[in-house]
Amino acid sequence: MRQRSGAFAIAATVALSACVQTRQYSDVQFTPPQGNYRLLVLRPDVTVGSLTTGGMVEPRAEWTDEARKNIVAALQAQQATRGGNVTVINHRNALAGVSEQELADVERLNFVVDEAIVQHKYLGDYLPTKRGRGLDWTLGADAVRLGQKSSYDYALFLHAEDQVASTGRVALGVLGLAGCIVGFCAPNIGGAEQLDYASLVDLKTGEVVWFNVVDAASQVPGIKFGDLRTPEGAAQMVERLLGRMKPGHDVRRQQAAR
């Protein structure tokens, strides 16, 4: 549930207009993984729900399962193009050599670190001490230990939530649009929203090297910017979220100097 509130907080800032927005941050020394790297994806957190007429989100089991399957497939396909070897863990007991409790600890730690990143990078509480230092957060020794025990190079944490406007919601939007004729114009009651974020942790150093948020929101119900329930929609999401990984500030400067 806590993850939810974090998600809403991000949504509140990014979702000011009806469009797709992404905003990524990276460690100044970050180079996007290339070549033969091993990537561990820890329990992707996916929820797809229906947006009710009154604006509540009703989670749907079969849509969620479908979306998760599509996202995992898209992720594997996409990372393979960069040379990455991806393993997706769906349960905490599924990682050989690492106990459930250790994995839970890393996940919980990552969660609070992600919250801090959102707070200080996205929600406006900028820290003067971190100015110009890119993404400057770490999971520390726990993540390094996870890397040593599991022999993965990177860990990816992924959250995706998507909504599909119900017929009632769409009808309400149409009514709001129709009202423009008589002078009560409410076309933007808020439609479905897709919110995704991911963080990449370097398991050699324990540092969070890259973080990205995608918000695909529509103020008009019925208009969608990608549907995670379809393989195309999931591939589009993965591409938006992970496809354009930029190198860190220092790395870019070196590249420019060369």
Binding site: M1, T53, A61, R92, E100, L172, A186
Partner: protein, 407 residues
């Protein structure tokens, strides 16, 4: 669906509605729900068949995984097994399906999740004086599941927000068409929607109370114990408020739960209906205390460190109605010592002195008794107390220092 929570969600709902500081404090009176009318709505091995409920269950799987792996859980098999047996006794038809987790949180609460797993806070175990009281709270939580409260309240919210949204839109469009402004009515309707959501939530809590009373009576516990729990809670709240110089919160129309006073009164009436005349009820106090024995000191310790001396003192005195012992006397002393007002050192010293008379006085009671004696200039007696402390806790972190002090 917890015993007395949802504070945060209630506030956010209010804030979102933009109601502001509406100080509409009125008494809230609902008709009492009779235990006899509380028929379980699910049978054994219940699985959801409706789409919305399946979605809710699916989402809860991850929540349960998170809770089951939480590092706040107390996992002592004797205690968790006891809780499992208890919910197996007062869980009605779903008794075998429930899971129950004990979290180390020093607060009076317990909650049931939509898929049939319950979380009990350790603060609850401290406050319950016997098994019957604990059974009452667990019966209440089972009641939420058996009456399908989560999906029912979700559907109620969905229905009411749907109606409100459509109504507001129609009022806007229709009003604009007719050339009148209906905004004020829309705001009233919004307030009405929100209030009816809270009322529905209170009704469910009342249902769970009645269902719980019925379940524990069927399991052979005295149903009157449930109202005693609320009596104790009211007393504790009063003690906290009095100490902090505030008034205890009473019921308002924005409450998600019925007021504690109303719940106590209703539960008393329920118990009178359910009680079998001339039957002798066993509250299984001894069994309860034996089970929580290994963690009782930890429970008291967590409570005393909350910096709520009003409540802690009330709690200890309530527990002591069943008889004082070394543990209770020691923590009584700790309340005074940590409060540290004028004269509290003397009170604390008296409590420590009283504590060490009992065979179950913890080692720390001897330590603080020794320190108090030292302050009073009774060095020889202090030495004896410190020796006793070292015998009981030879590996104490301050053992070397104490040893050096007593020479």
């Amino acid at each position: 669906m917890c015993l007395r929570c949802m504070e945060i969600s209630r506030r956010s709902l209010l804030a979102a509605a933009g109601i502001g500081a509406a100080a509409l404090h009125t008494g809230v009176a609902n008709a009492r729900i009779r235990p006899a009318d509380m028929i379980p709505l699910v049978g054994p091995g219940f699985r959801p068949t409706d789409r919305d409920e399946q979605g809710l269950w699916h989402e809860m799987d991850r929540v349960e995984e998170e809770i089951a792996d939480s590092n706040l859980l107390i996992t002592d098999p004797a205690i968790t097994g006891y809780l499992r047996d208890l919910i197996g006794t007062v869980g009605g038809p779903a008794a075998k399906d429930f899971r129950i987790y004990l979290a180390r949180i020093p607060d009076f609460n317990a909650m049931m999740f939509p898929t049939g797993f319950a979380v009990v806070f350790s603060g609850l175990l401290l406050r319950m004086r016997d098994e019957a009281q604990l059974a009452g709270v667990i019966g209440h939580e089972s009641g939420h599941f058996l009456r399908r409260h989560m999906i029912r309240s979700w559907r109620d919210q969905r229905r009411k927000t749907d109606i409100f949204s459509v109504g507001a839109m129609l009022a806007g469009v229709g009003g604009a068409g007719a050339g009148v402004y209906l905004g004020d009515y829309v705001q009233l309707a919004q307030l009405g929607t929100i209030l009816s959501l809270f009322k529905y939530s209170r009704e469910m809590e009342a249902e769970a109370d009645a269902m719980g009373a019925k379940l524990i009576a069927e399991a052979g516990y005295d149903p009157m114990e449930m109202s005693v729990v609320w009596q104790q809670l009211i007393g504790e709240e009063q003690a906290t408020a009095a100490y902090r110089g505030k008034h205890r919160e009473r019921g308002s129309i924005f409450d998600t739960h019925p007021s504690n006073d109303a719940r106590m009164a209703d539960l008393e009436a329920d118990a009178r209906e359910l009680r079998v005349p001339a039957k002798r009820y066993d509250n299984h106090r001894a069994r309860y205390l034996t089970t929580i024995g290994p963690i009782r000191q930890m429970l008291l310790d967590d409570q005393v460190k909350l910096n709520d001396p009003g409540a802690s003192e009330y709690l200890i005195e309530t527990l002591a109605q069943d008889g004082w012992d070394g543990l209770l006397r020691f923590y009584e002393g700790e309340v005074w010592r940590l409060r540290n007002r004028k004269g509290d050192d003397v009170r604390a010293a008296q409590s420590y002195a009283a504590a060490v008379v009992y065979p179950n006085a913890p080692a720390d009671a001897w330590r603080w008794h020794g320190i108090s004696l030292l302050k009073q200039g009774r060095a020889a007696e202090a030495k004896t107390a410190f020796s006793k402390y070292l015998t009981m806790k030879p590996d104490a972190p301050d053992a070397a220092w104490v040893r050096q002090m007593i020479g």
